[in-house]
């Protein structure tokens, strides 16, 4: 099951709620299934992030482009812009160190780029050096995407982590009874 935040926005029934002005224009556009436009990341960023996920995710977890795109769907435009900037800088770092773009490198070489950049030993921060921002927006962004989804947390026996709209315990009973 690929439930995620975007799935929720579709699932709650746009027809019933949007008329009450509950959803912002951004959410409505995202829920319409559009895959282009300013609510999305550019392809180069997605490719870099998918390549990065292969380094930082456990080997049992496979990453599709749609997983990355879905994660950023509900984030604001400023956050998306900063993700794209950090991805460009990671790619530039790879070219500088290894003469090849990040997503074209082997997994081991991608890990080496991260280490050499210092991303594995800094604190994540939304502003500052390339290393702290790669850690914050890309590495930790991907970890947030993974571990706010059963895709990542079922590894630890959790199927409804914080950040995931998996319903509340006893919800079906409440809906039946009332």
């Amino acid at each position: 099951m690929t439930r995620n935040r975007r799935h929720f926005l579709r699932g709650i029934g746009l027809g019933s709620l949007s008329g009450l002005g509950l959803l912002s224009a951004r959410s409505i556009r995202n829920s319409s299934g559009s895959t282009t436009g300013s609510s999305e990341l550019d392809d180069a960023t997605v490719a870099t992030m998918v390549a990065l996920a292969a380094v930082i995710y456990p080997r049992t977890v496979s990453v599709e482009h749609s997983f990355v795109r879905n994660y950023v769907t509900v984030l604001g435009p400023e956050h998306r812009t900063r993700i794209q900037r950090a991805a460009r800088e990671l790619d530039l770092a790879a070219r500088s160190m290894m003469s090849t773009g990040f997503s074209s490198l082997s997994v081991e070489r991608r890990a080496a780029v991260l280490r050499n950049l210092g991303a594995s030993s800094v604190q994540p921060r939304p502003t500052g050096t390339v290393a702290v921002r790669v850690r914050y927006y890309l590495v930790n962004g991907l970890l947030v995407a993974l571990f706010t989804s059963p895709k990542g947390t079922t590894l630890f026996g959790i199927d409804n982590p914080p950040g995931y709209p998996g319903g509340y315990p006893g919800q079906e009973q409440i809906m039946e009874d009332h």
Binding site: P58, H79, R115, F156, P169
Partner: protein, 552 residues
């Protein structure tokens, strides 16, 4: 419209009512009066945030432990500077939010009522102070407030009789709750459900809870009530709400009997005056007394409406202690964002001490995955400091590290006890003239002084919690008696009373000193009981709105 620095923030023509503060109190008053046809202007210091359904940026910040709760709603910085010169450091900016919706943007949602004894502390026990009206007089407003906020609950509290049904069904109690409840039953402690302003079902056009579990500090879809619900309703009735316009000063007429205008500043730095027939201060238990103190004049040298000297004094906030234990049983299979079980078995008391205790039982998460993941496998911040040498972990090694960091003998359980905090003059909000905010105003100095009554009640609560954990077959890991945390319930600083010499407002929440100035906030509570204050704030807001409308 969101966070628009260039919106028109010039004043309205003189309004019927000007409200300072767009939280739950200001929102309810604005809605009551605007929908009755009065012209209403609301002035809010903080910003207007994205609407429910669109708060995933806030959730993202909340999920990341490199941020603090203050970052979620943009608290801190020059605007929010404060001092804390008492015997303990008071963490003010993690216990309040400025913005449309106010502190209910980040609250947990719990909505219990005070008990009758809380209104009669002086009469019954010779301590604290009486309210100028009884629980019975506030009861119909409690019921109406539960409808306004959308409180989910069931009538199972044996310690507080109620006549009115809840508007929403209660959240079901959980597996962990049953472990606590069984042990409590053996000990003769009755447990019951925890009323909360969180939608078990869609309610009045607002989304049903779908289990995001980030409730405090943010529900991204608005299934948890926040004060902007009433602000939006007020706007639909043509109330005008300005954000990012911190009120600097309240100006009175020459005789000092009535308020003429409030002065506010826009993001561009322009100062404006808003006139009105009636003014309502609804900026919470810290900023409300602060604004009165900042509005001193020749007629009111100790602060506006402060003939009593009580403005800023008798500051109360419920001190919470938490008991942590390990039990040899499994708890809830999944994390949750809210609690569902409480006990008020120790709330009412015959003698003056120990005081009231409200126990809540935590739906503690069985495992923390995201925390160690974002720390690169480090169990805590000490591991983080070694990173420049050792480096962080990802991939399969990260999975092992997350498992290790959650490794423990049994299941961790937690219980919380909120206890009553008696009003004391030395516990206060005053001005710190040596420190100023981004508009040059002296900042609030918060002194949170507990006193022996609260500390004795804590000792009793700790014993009870230890007994419960042991009855569960567990071992007690600790109770933080030395370091209780404030609930963020800012009460008492412009208290109600019949006597103008010792209180700031009367039972209509009208200041004794100025006939057209009301205060709607937990700052008017003469006592605070041991319950979260928001439902009482909402009830008072409904009651005060009637009194204001009667005068317009």
């Amino acid at each position: 419209m969101e966070n628009d620095r260039f919106a028109d923030r010039r004043p309205s023509p003189p309004a019927d009512v000007c409200i300072v503060g767009a939280g739950v109190a200001g929102g309810i008053v604005a809605n009551e009066l605007a929908s009755a046809g009065y012209s209403v202007v609301v002035l809010e210091a903080g910003e207007r945030f994205p609407p429910p359904g669109d708060r995933f940026d806030q959730q993202e910040i909340a999920l990341r432990e490199s941020h603090t709760i203050e970052d979620v709603w943009n608290m801190g910085g020059q605007r929010d500077r404060f001092s804390s010169s008492g015997s303990g450091e008071y963490p003010l900016n993690s216990r309040r939010v400025k913005g449309v919706g106010g502190t209910t943007l980040h609250w947990g949602g719990y909505s219990p009522r005070l008990h009758p004894k809380d209104f009669e502390m002086q009469t019954r026990y010779g301590i604290g102070r009486d309210w100028p009206f009884s629980y019975e007089q506030l009861r119909p407003y409690y019921a109406a407030a539960e409808q306004e906020l959308g409180v989910s609950g069931v009538d199972d509290n044996p310690f507080l009789e109620r006549q009115e049904p809840f508007p929403l069904p209660a959240f079901p109690t959980t597996h962990t709750d049953s472990l606590f409840a069984d042990a409590c039953e053996t000990l003769g402690i009755e447990t019951h459900s925890l009323p909360q302003a969180r939608n078990t079902q869609a309610y009045e056009g607002r989304a049903q809870c779908v289990g995001y579990g980030t409730c405090s500090p943010v529900c991204p879809i608005g299934a948890k009530y926040s004060g902007d619900v009433h602000i939006r309703r007020a706007e639909q009735s043509s109330a005008r709400v300005l954000d990012q316009v911190p009120v600097q000063r309240i100006e009175h007429d020459r005789r000092g009997d009535s308020v003429e205008a409030v002065v506010y500043v826009t993001p561009a730095g322009d100062r404006h005056r808003q006139e009105a027939d009636h003014f309502v201060l609804a900026c919470g238990g810290v900023e409300t007394p602060r604004l009165l103190l900042l509005s001193e004049s020749d007629r009111y040298p100790a602060g506006l409406a402060n003939s009593s000297g009580a403005v800023g004094r008798y500051f109360m906030d419920h001190p919470y202690i938490t008991a942590v234990g390990e039990i040899p049983a499994s708890g809830n299979p999944n994390p949750m964002g809210y609690n569902t079980l409480q006990s008020q078995a120790f709330y009412d008391h015959d003698s003056a001490g120990p005081g009231s205790i409200m126990l809540t039982f935590d739906n503690a998460s069985p495992v923390d995955i995201l925390g160690p993941a974002l720390r690169g496998g480090d169990e805590n911040v000490w591991g983080d400091l070694a990173d420049p040498v050792e480096g962080d972990l990802w991939g399969d090694k990260l999975v092992d590290a997350i498992r290790d960091s959650n490794e423990k003998g049994g299941t961790t359980v937690k219980m919380h006890a909120a206890v009553e905090h008696l009003p004391r003059r030395e516990s206060s909000v005053t001005l710190d003239g040596a420190k100023t905010d981004d508009n040059g105003n002296p900042v609030p100095d918060v002194r949170w002084e507990l006193g022996t009554h609260a500390r004795e009640t804590h000792e009793t609560a700790a014993e009870i919690m230890r007994d419960i954990i042991r009855e569960m077959g567990g071992t007690v890991r600790g109770v933080n008696l030395a370091d209780p945390g404030p609930g963020g319930h800012h009460m008492g600083t412009t208290r109600m009373g019949r006597d103008p010499e010792s209180s700031v407002v009367d039972e209509r929440l009208r200041t004794h000193d100025l006939g057209n100035l009301s205060i709607v906030s937990s700052s008017v509570f003469p006592t605070g009981g041991a319950v979260n204050p928001t439902l009482t704030i909402a009830a008072l807001a409904l009651r005060a709105s009637e009194a204001i409308a009667a005068d317009l």
